[in-house]
Amino acid sequence: MSLKIIVLGNATAGDDGAAILAAKALQLESDNRVEIIFAGRPGTGLLDLLEGPEPVILMDVVSGSGEPGGIISISLDQLTEQLQPAAQTSSHGFGPTEVLSLGKVLGRQLPSGYLVGIEGQRFDPGEQLTAAVQQQLPEYIARVQALISMGGQAAPGP
């Protein structure tokens, strides 16, 4: 494998399933150099998934970055350098930032790559996305697709 895509989220918690839906659309178009892992909400288990030399694209739904449906991309290096991990509320509360920070503190070799996130609006039980997130899903898929074509190593657009 030359690129690992780790997909985070809960398909039964409203917009939290957006990255999963997007990744399923990607899977049809990707090739055998790309490994897609649907990891759910792995907590600290994400550290195990980050092992290996391949660059990684983390697909996740984010909260608090801006308008619903907004798309962010940030390198994993920047993620650990610029963002503060949240207070440890639970093992479920070990999101990518917290896990990468923990890996850094432990001196783990972390992969290069990007987090590509889409801003969610509602996280209630159910499989339905909100309209704003649904509308932006094609753009989100396109951003990740562009990053795949660059081997997960370059910033996918603005």
Binding site: G43, T44, G45, L47, S90, L102
Partner: protein, 444 residues
Amino acid sequence: MSESPVSGEKTYKVDLLTRVEGEGRFYLKVKDSQVVESKLNIFEAPRYFEALLRGRSIEEVPDIVARICGICPVAYQMSAVRALETGLGMVPSPQIRALRRLLYCGEWIESHALHVFLLHAPDFLGYDSAMAMAADHKDIVERGLKMKKAGNALVETLGGRAIHPISIRVGGFTSTPDKRAFRQLRVDLENALADAVDTVAWTGQLTFPDFNRDYTFACLDGDQYPLEWGDSIHISGVGSFAVEEFHQQTRETHVEHSTALQSHTKKGQTYLCGPMARLNRHHQRLHPTALRALAQSGLTLPVTNPYQSIVVRAVELVHALAEAIDIIDSYQQPGAPFADYQPRAATGSGATEAPRGLLVHRYQFGADGLIKDAEIIPPTSQNQAQIEGDLCSIAPRLMELDHAAATHLCEQLIRSYDPCISCATHFLKLEIDRGNEQSGDSNP
């Protein structure tokens, strides 16, 4: 946290409990060393899983209930298939039972490792989080992560994936692994077992607040250390009774400050389920390696100090790892991964021991194989009233401490029960009064 300046009155509260699963807060008001009010406030939204199950096929139940929790999905699946198979009159083959026990060992390993090292240990070593602790104690955090990884790998090998496994089904598994699938895993489990034995010694020498309680304990009964199987439940002071009598022996009530129902015995007593209950009743049934570790841990039985539950979990880690290795060594791939069945109208109850304690399921279903009613009673909701009682009992101790230390002691106490608040939020019956268009919905 805050302190109320009312004369003679102190309030301890934490608005968002950390290092527990899900969202809750606690509130304790003390006046002249007497508790005026104690609340473990569970405000995580009710999740209506029991209502969601109604009308679904019994084949779908294991996959749906796995979604209740990302930490202990196997527990929900195991209690579900036990209840459904009991209703269907099915008894799984010894090979299927062994494989299910092995899978459950994997979940105990990953859940207990997570709690011992990442959620509970920071309390004893004086850190706010595992992240802060990792800076000074990499070896401890790495040991926990390694053990958790071994547990996850075991669940993934048998369950198809580590989170929300997909191989459990009524009558057995969708498929079973070849013995070769366990080759590397066995090596990892052996290494983790050595670490777990060290962990018992390490946790045994921690300093515990002196706080012993006269608990009523509840756990499964059976010939083995309770895990995936057991036809009866034992409550101390009550005795043993069949799993299907659980609803006659206990009662659930709703309290205003919680979205989780609270449990009491039919005589109104609070009770505690979980590792302490299991160890106190079944320590003779521990794997010999775990029994040796227990003897060297410094624990005195019965364990009645909840702060010492970290040691008990470490002992259970040894047990789960040692037993997993034994099961792998004697594993023979079953001829058929599952047994067929004919749906029939029935009600079935089943109980297993989740990492956090007794998990009881009851399903009523029709001859069409569709669920008519479902009830899921998780360990944290059973323990909730007991935790509130323990917070009351520790109140006199708080007077000797400054406010921050007192609040921390309460938080540490709550974490001792490893509460999974997300799991606990099964809810009371909901009745909606819409004026003349009355709809009584019994959403659990």
